[in-house]
């Protein structure tokens, strides 16, 4: 059966996918089907405009989910997948199975002339380009690219489909990511830290500032993945989180495009860096050239005053 299929294991993202899904449904006149691994989430999706919801019952590993989804969407017009790591693996497998094109991290998406027209970033965020895909087509969509749709008041039918594990890939152990479950994406204000901080203990300066601003702490890839000073859920960038807060204070980070791509849609960006040449100043609304060890305490004090 033809259809617009959406999938994400991330509940918030799954809801957001229904917004472009509904637009495509209208444009292509195909039913909108939501696939979800969560029975609880299925009810929500059923009330947000999906014509049908299928609960994927079984293991949640990418290699198990991917063939199950591929089988369900065999006749699809468009498949939209939430752009998490699991989603990206799954989407690539589905695209391979459908012999279809796949846009990675689509920022816009629309159907036109029987094709799927998308835009995405290139060169680590330096550039954007359009991609035009014949149908069937697949796209992954990053978090917070679209708002979730309003509830319709109706409730679509919910079915179930079985997922079976891929016997070739044996999961030996699972370690939850050490995090505090904080949703950086929802925070209206963020203080982001980078390599300008010489030691983990120095992050207290940023914590204090975040306190004064009622902001959450965020960081660059290096701080999370190389130094492990902050959990990865706080890391902003091309392979991390994408955020759009009202205020983004970047302290001691140079502003490489791979980081900025995750925060450049913030309403106001403030940069604090001792290197006047740092690209962050070009990406910022306001900046202070100065040593963060001097500037942050002063700023914190001034905000508290």
């Amino acid at each position: 059966m033809a259809g617009i299929f959406v999938f994400s294991e991330d509940p918030a993202l799954a809801r957001q996918l229904l917004t472009p899904g509904l637009e495509l449904k209208a444009a292509l006149d195909q039913p909108l089907v939501a696939l979800t691994p969560s029975r609880d989430e299925a009810q929500t999706l059923a009330g947000l405009g999906a014509d049908r919801v299928v609960v994927l019952e079984g293991p949640g590993t990418p290699e198990a989910l991917a063939p199950a989804v591929a089988a369900l969407v065999a006749q699809a017009g468009v498949v939209l997948v939430g752009g998490t790591l699991r989603g990206k693996h799954l989407a690539a497998h589905v695209a391979a199975a459908l012999n279809a094109g796949l846009t990675t991290d689509a920022k816009t998406i629309r159907a036109e002339g029987g094709r799927l027209e998308t835009t995405r970033i290139l060169y680590g965020g330096l550039a954007v380009c359009e991609e035009s895909l014949a149908l069937p087509a697949v796209a992954t969509i990053p978090q917070r690219t679209f708002p979730p749709p309003a509830p319709t008041g109706a409730s679509a039918p919910v079915e179930a489909a079985a997922v079976t594990a891929d016997p070739r890939v044996e999961v030996l152990s699972t370690t939850p990511v050490a995090g505090e479950g904080v949703d950086i994406g929802a925070a209206p204000r963020l203080v982001a830290v980078g390599r300008g901080f010489g030691a983990k203990a120095d992050l207290d300066l940023a914590v204090d500032l975040a306190g004064a601003l009622k902001a959450e702490l965020a960081c660059t890839r290096g701080i999370a993945e190389d130094e492990h000073w902050l959990p990865v859920e706080r890391y902003i960038g091309i392979s991390g989180q994408t955020v759009k807060p009202e205020l983004y204070v970047a302290a001691g980070l140079s502003g490489q495009v791979q980081h900025m791509v995750g925060c450049r849609e913030s309403k106001v960006i403030v940069a604090i860096n001792k290197d006047e040449r740092a690209p962050i100043f070009e990406a910022a609304d306001y900046g202070i050239v100065g040593d963060l060890y001097t500037v942050l305490p002063l700023l914190t004090a001034a905000l508290k005053a």
Partner: protein, 96 residues
């Protein structure tokens, strides 16, 4: 549109650097700089890697153009060690 006067920061901003963080290729002994009367480095370093900060000579090897001027003018030998950056680090000129 006339051509702009550029600050040292803007000039260096045109260039491509790969800074070898944590491995400065030039070592400066601040104690010796403190007793240096002339401090020629402040004037002749084309990259302004040497700056006066709270009355002291502060050196930052990021932005170094690897010319060697500081090495030849440093009278009191505050530049205690001068080498080129390790391979693959430092400036890369593309159109000079």
């Amino acid at each position: 549109m006339s051509i702009k006067r550029l600050s040292p920061e803007e000039l260096l901003g045109l260039d491509r650097f790969n800074v070898d963080e944590g491995h400065p290729h030039i070592l400066v002994d601040k104690a010796r700089c403190a007793v240096c009367a002339q401090r020629p480095c402040l004037t002749v370093c084309p990259a302004r890697c040497y700056r006066l900060k709270d009355g002291q000579v502060a050196f930052d090897c990021a932005g170094c153009l690897e010319c060697g001027t500081c090495r030849v003018v440093c009278k009191d030998k505050g530049v205690t060690s001068w080498a080129y950056p390790r391979a693959s680090f430092g400036i890369t000129f593309r159109c000079s």
